[in-house]
Amino acid sequence: MSTAVAIFEQKHVPQPRQVGKPGGFLRRTNAVTALVSGVVLAAIFYVATGAIVNAVTGGGQQDDLSLPEGLQVQITMMYVGWILGFMGGIGAFAGPIRWFLGHDLTYADAEYMAGKDMGRKKFWKYTTDHKVVGIQYLVVMLVLFGFGGLLAMLIRTELGITWAEVFNPNFYNSLIGTHGIVMIIAMIIAVSGPLGNFIVPLMCGARDMAFPRLNALSIWLLVAAVPPLVSNLLMGGIRDGWTVYQPLADQAPVGMIGYQICIIVFAFSTGIASVNLITTIVAMRARGMTWSRVPIFVYGVMGSAIMGLVWFPMYQYSQILALSDRVLQTSFFTPATGGSVWLYENLFWLLGHPEVYVIVLPATAALLELMPVFLRKPLFSFKLAIAGIFGIVGLSAVVWVHHMYMTGWAPQSNYPFMLSTELISIPFSFLLLVMLGTMWRGKPWARLPMMAVYAVIWNKVIGGITGVYLSDTPVDQYMHGSMFVVAHFHFMLMGAGLFGAMGAIAYWFPKMTSRYFDERYGKIGFWIAFAGFQVTFFAMFVAGLQGMPRRVLQFDNAFNVANWVSTIGAYVIGIGMLVFLYALVISWRSGELAPGNPFGAHTLEAQTETPVPHENFPVLPVVTSDPYDFGVPDPYELEDEELIREAEGASKVGAS
């Protein structure tokens, strides 16, 4: 597929003066220094802000600190201190300061920052190598899933034990809200984080991402954003669901500030990652990789990054303004003083709905990527798949109002948005059609990644069809706010997103870790989780159709059976996920060593050796064929054969 061209000889490039040892300040920073400086600066900001608030409001009276406003300012500044301290402690400010002062990195500096020859220490540092960042994303994602999953188990325990109350209602509501947003963040990064960073540059034939330092910044901003979110449980919690609608959120305890700070910082992380991914894909593709030769997974990640880039700032600003309402007493979302809750809902859902596609697109594209490999036949209608991806990206901008049918905002807009929402099922169906077309008359290789394809097709059909019902205004009037909605979006986000991510990670696991994924335990865990998933959420559909509202911990006895079944299903999911995690851990620790191209793929990431060399490719590749030409005769081979035949013919003519 590729030939080699060396593009540079590093030793001939004039270097800036090396000041000190390579890496400079970054030699002394790591996750521990980040943690320590984050905690210290958070404490300093908390105390200093307290003193200032005291001085301003009452000349150092202790009582003033107990005022909600004073305390909220203190907590906010504490989180700001945490973020600044953590990012400073990991070394994020060293690059900008060095740049400001007019110093450039030398090659040795860049090599140090990329973690060359650093061993496992590089995973704990501000490392710029995209492969390290990919692994860091994977670990952060697993931690978030573990935490979010644990909260899900607690929620289902409360709902399953119908004869008693396990948690008090406020804490239960906090569990719901925290579970929701933790899982949303985890799902947003599930594929685009680990695989977007590790695999996409390799697939494009690049040596690294376009902006390696921004890459390190994006992962460490994410790491910094998580503790404020988790800490909300200790400070009154998020009691308003993951959407934190106003004005409820404005009246919530100070734990809400942790949510808002987390989203503001996470949006920066996502924006930076999106800029990096899009630029890498557009500007750093290997020679010969025309747009018709770009792997479909790369298209999926790019579509997701475009939506994240454009829409995330809306969500970010909704939280900035909400935080301002709490801390500065502004009135963006407070009707009594001229604000509007509809403004919040619009800003929120402008990202809130595209975010579903931010999650589902890369996972779906990953499955489309691996299907030709396990079916040994070309991807069916490559262009239709691209049309599906960009159709979703385009239409995602005009569907957000279907979340607001029942809010009373602009009722005349309901039907146009109903139409646009139903329209988006068409590009979605394109992707399903491509999946089915690729499978048609194929001979599947029954490996775990291929199992994920079957699971996701089923889940996506269920989630998609129920989504069409919910986008219908009259139906939504009945279904809105019920468990039916909860089941629907779990089928999309978990059923299509998470199960797709599991397949994708199993597929690229050998490339990322140099070891085969243990498919025996992996398959057992996967199918147990899948079975549990069906039980849990079909029971939830039933409860929703019976009329059970969501976000309640006390309900009528009529819903008991559905909730018992659902809770049993959730525990089964938990068991399946633990088995899958066990497979992942033992594979990573002591799995069978994998070759560079364990499944015989044609894409560029499979053409480099495993473990992937520091600079990815010894020489930059040149692409000469499509990535899915399985079973298609190589035109160059055909050409060679024709030449040979012509030569043989000529020699025969000469001999005669």
Binding site: I7, F8, E9, Q10, H12, V13, P14, Q15, P16, P96, W99, F100, L101, G102, H103, D104, L105, T106, Y107, D109, A110, R207, A210, F211, P247, G271, S274, V275, N276, I278, T279, V282, A283, M284, L309, V310, W311, F312, P313, M314, Q316, Y317, S318, L321, S324, L328, Q329, T330, S331, F332, T334, P335, A336, T337, G338, G339, S340, L343, N346, L347
Partner: protein
């Protein structure tokens, strides 16, 4: 220019042209993302202005006033001049005049510093507090966002000056100056739109908005 004669990056060994093309694209994407945020603020302003919820768009009568609009325009003019200076500097360095970029970026930094101070003074002397209704909130945040942008612009133009003096920005490799000029142009557009909104949209057109009560618990 042939690739052999072009400057090469010390860290990646690629030609400067390749890297600059990539950086430009990154900057465009950053501008797109930042624009969405600016649009969010402008939409918030226009939406609340048009609704006049609870008749509370305007600051309470007798206690506060509309903000004077001239400071917005003065600050915007300063930003505009600083942006022009930086564009001129990076064009002059293309003709081999490095000193011109040092001078122009220093001047741009000075102007932006004055704008920054002016913005802080404007925020501190608004004739209303953040709690005085939706107009006060929206105007305060447009000004605050501009203040944050000005701080960042100051950092960037200062860096251009330092880097040109240190010989990092040269006639052959002036991409960073161009990137900063691009970003400043975006900031100018954002400041211009903010100034237009605060000038044109003061009294709400919705004079008969319903009264919702206080919504107090």
């Amino acid at each position: 220019m042939s690739a052999a004669a072009e400057s090469l990056s010390p860290t990646t060994g690629e030609t400067v042209t390749v890297i600059e093309r990539r950086n430009r694209m990154g900057m465009w994407l950053i501008i797109v993302s930042c624009s969405t945020g600016t649009v969010a603020l402008l939409v918030a302003y226009a939406y609340l202005w048009s609704l006049n919820v609870n008749s509370a768009w305007a600051p309470p009568a007798g206690t506060a006033n509309w903000a004077p609009v001239w400071p917005f325009w003065v600050i915007f003019t300063g930003m505009f001049v600083a942006t022009l200076l930086l564009w001129r500097g990076q064009q002059l360095i293309a003709r081999g005049n490095s000193r011109a970029l040092v001078r122009d970026s220093a001047l741009a930094s000075l102007i932006l510093l004055l704008c920054f101070v002016g913005q802080v003074v404007q925020i501190a002397t608004f004739p209303f507090g953040p709690q005085d209704g939706a107009y006060a909130s929206s105007t305060l945040w447009l000004a605050t966002a501009n203040c944050i942008w000005l701080f960042m612009a100051l950092f960037l133009t200062g860096a251009v000056m330092n880097r040109t003096r240190a010989g990092r920005i040269t006639p052959e490799s002036r991409g960073h100056a161009r990137l900063v000029a691009m970003f400043l142009t975006y900031l100018c557009v954002a400041a211009f739109l903010g100034s237009v909104f605060t000038t044109v949209m003061q009294e709400s057109p919705n004079t008969g908005s319903p009264v919702f009560g206080t919504f107090k618990e």
